[in-house]
Symmetry: C2
Subunit: 395 residues, 2 copies
């Protein structure tokens, strides 16, 4: 008599959560320091000092009724303006505060976009494997639309355009990108984004309605080797940018992010639909104290250098042992091939060495494993010999 699909989702622990709990049980047996948990994407570097400074300053200087009171549903105008100003300074854009809708994090941002754009149950959203698994939940169960998956281009995890083109239909409402990517760390190149924009423009004309690009960018600031992340919204006008401060400011528990609505012909309706979707999903307003923190710290990031060092160690170490891996340009994940085709079996075998890895099948890319390297560098140093032993089992 309960909602069968949400019941199933509530009962089925995610694989990541299962591994996490397994790790806790093992830690109780053999000690936390002997468990090499690469399963969770929880930032392990502290927020920048600016966050703590902003929190204390706001709490000391402002009236509590103002700090903790309702804001307008789309976020307090001053906070939206500060965030728009920061984007404009960084990207040379001309966004106004009225194009921003502040949210309870990126999961809310994408949920709102799917809900706003879904007009009928036939509507489709295209996602690229490997993908963040919750997209399927938000699209199919949250918005009641269909999720269409493009298989991974495993040579470089850029877009397989032939496969993409084959998946468009008159029902396509949007295409979801996540660059830098969870779980594979790929950053879409300027060429990839340009070609995607061309195809989206052409398909929009062909079907007689705009196909929206939903650009989920919580890892935008986490990039390496001085690689810039091209700003997708500058390549394709019908882009809804979904952002979260979870990773850049190391604030994942506080749930603060935004949707940036593009200034296209139908802007007024599109923004209204975003507001309506937020209302229907019960969000009321993004948490008020952290709206202000995000506004003040929009130009800051946590110290991301530990991620760069971890990536170097892990990538160099694993590839020297014979693991095949596309070198990630961003985020804090490595996504190597497993040493046998069955990634579940491989990750199960890795548990012998207390290496906790997530099978790629969960992200739509069998034969891979996700390694979250937002851990202490020492954990990686001590884990590398275990990855070596694991590799030797396959010689």
């Amino acid at each position: 008599m309960l909602n069968p699909s949400v019941l199933a989702l509530g009962k089925k622990r995610s694989t990541i959560r299962e591994i996490f709990e397994y790790g806790n049980r093992r830690a109780a047996q053999v000690g936390r320091e002997n468990i090499f948990d690469f399963s969770i994407g929880n930032p392990n570097v502290p927020p920048p000092q600016a966050v703590q400074d902003a929190l204390l300053d706001i709490l000391h200087a402002q009236q509590p009724t103002a700090v903790h009171g309702y804001t307008s549903a789309q976020g307090a105008p001053a906070n939206r303006k500060a965030i728009a100003d920061n984007l404009n300074a960084r990207f040379g854009t001309h966004y106004s505060a009225d194009q921003l809708y502040l949210t309870v994090g990126a999961a809310a941002s994408v949920s709102i976009c799917f809900k706003a754009l879904t007009a009928t149950p036939e509507d489709e959203f295209i996602v690229f494997a490997p993908y963040f698994p919750e997209y399927l939940v938000f699209i199919e169960h949250g918005a009641g639309a269909k999720c269409v998956v493009v298989p991974p281009q495993i040579s470089d995890f850029q877009i397989d355009f032939a496969a993409l083109e084959a998946r468009f239909s008159p029902h396509t409402k949007g295409v979801v990108i996540n660059s830098p990517n969870n779980p594979c760390g790929v950053v879409y190149s300027v060429e990839t984004l340009s070609r995607l924009a061309q195809m989206l423009t052409q398909k929009s004309e062909e079907y007689g309605h705009p196909i929206y690009l939903i650009s989920d960018e919580p890892y935008r600031e986490i990039v390496y080797d001085g690689q810039p992340v091209p700003f997708a919204a500058q390549t394709y006008p019908h882009t809804l940018v979904c952002y979260s401060y979870s990773k850049s400011l190391s604030l994942p528990g506080e749930r603060i992010g935004y949707v940036l609505v593009p200034d296209v012909a139908e802007f007024s309706d599109l923004y209204a639909a975003v507001c309506g979707a937020g209302r229907v999903l019960g969000y009321v307003n993004a948490p008020s104290l952290f709206q202000q923190v995000a506004a003040r710290c929009a130009g800051c990031t946590a110290d991301l250098s530990i991620y760069a060092e971890n990536r170097r160690l892990l990538y160099d170490g694993l590839t020297s042992m014979g693991y095949a891996c596309v070198k990630p340009d961003g985020a804090f994940y490595l996504f190597p091939r497993t040493l046998e085709p069955n990634d579940y079996a491989f990750c199960e075998r890795a548990k012998k060495y207390d290496l906790l890895l997530v099978p790629g099948t969960d992200f739509g890319a069998p034969g891979h494993m996700r390694i979250s390297y937002c851990v202490q560098t020492e954990t990686i140093q001590r884990a590398l010999p275990l990855f070596q032993k694991l590799a030797e089992e396959y010689r």
Copy 2:
């Protein structure tokens, strides 16, 4: 091509919002002090000192990565335990931490319950007029179920049981109560709750499935004249308690609350469905810093004495002028009859005196007006002569 129902909801400003914006325009013309805005239910008393103390202590004493990190989806165990302990101490109950699911405020709490319980589009939830208007949005647009309204019993705003009984059907999944009530301030008596429990038990047997009571209680602590608010969950076992700290701790912008899932035979499925609904709606976890604040301050309330004084002044003043009004026992709203049957016309006429009131029709009770008295006491003192002039127009 956008979602037509969420687009309509995003475009249609709520009447309350319209009045609020009208008030801002008038304030610019004649000065804020000359506008008597009784439209908004934004607490005007500061949070208790314990909130500020908790915030500063947490920020100074704890590691930022722990304070601001992800918690489990249902909330950190220690925070849930503190809240359960507080409930048990106050109500003599035996709740465990594992019955609580922390949420992004009461709107999220009720949205999650509707989503968890809705198995088919034929499912129905019964609400009592006057009601919080967003229930309709969450039930019909969020969960995709039907909202069935019981007309108000305007003599005392308790339940009209004959009208209620006529509205049950085999599709009834739940009944929603909101005591103390927004917009009329009624507190359901022990007799009302007992009779309701009897009817729910009988109808559950008749239809062969549990009918859930969704008890939305954000105003639980805001009561007057030493009246206790009976704890509905103790009267009827199949009660899902939806709570928010918005009003008791004056933290409406921070979005922190919970769902309390009853220990009934199907508990395990019911709790899983609540978790699944939270996941589908994109909530991830309740804001982590304020989870801790709520846990530490669960036994505190803001200084609510200003509301008691405002209620006394306004109730005595208006009834002495001839306004008919059920005396509210809780919340911070008065819901008098308008002096003409058309409440929209009456509230429009009140604008002549810069009295900003919300028509009862918006809450399913035409011929009434909602007066939010979470304002400065001086505002009420200065407004009373204007209510007098307004009344004289109807002599």
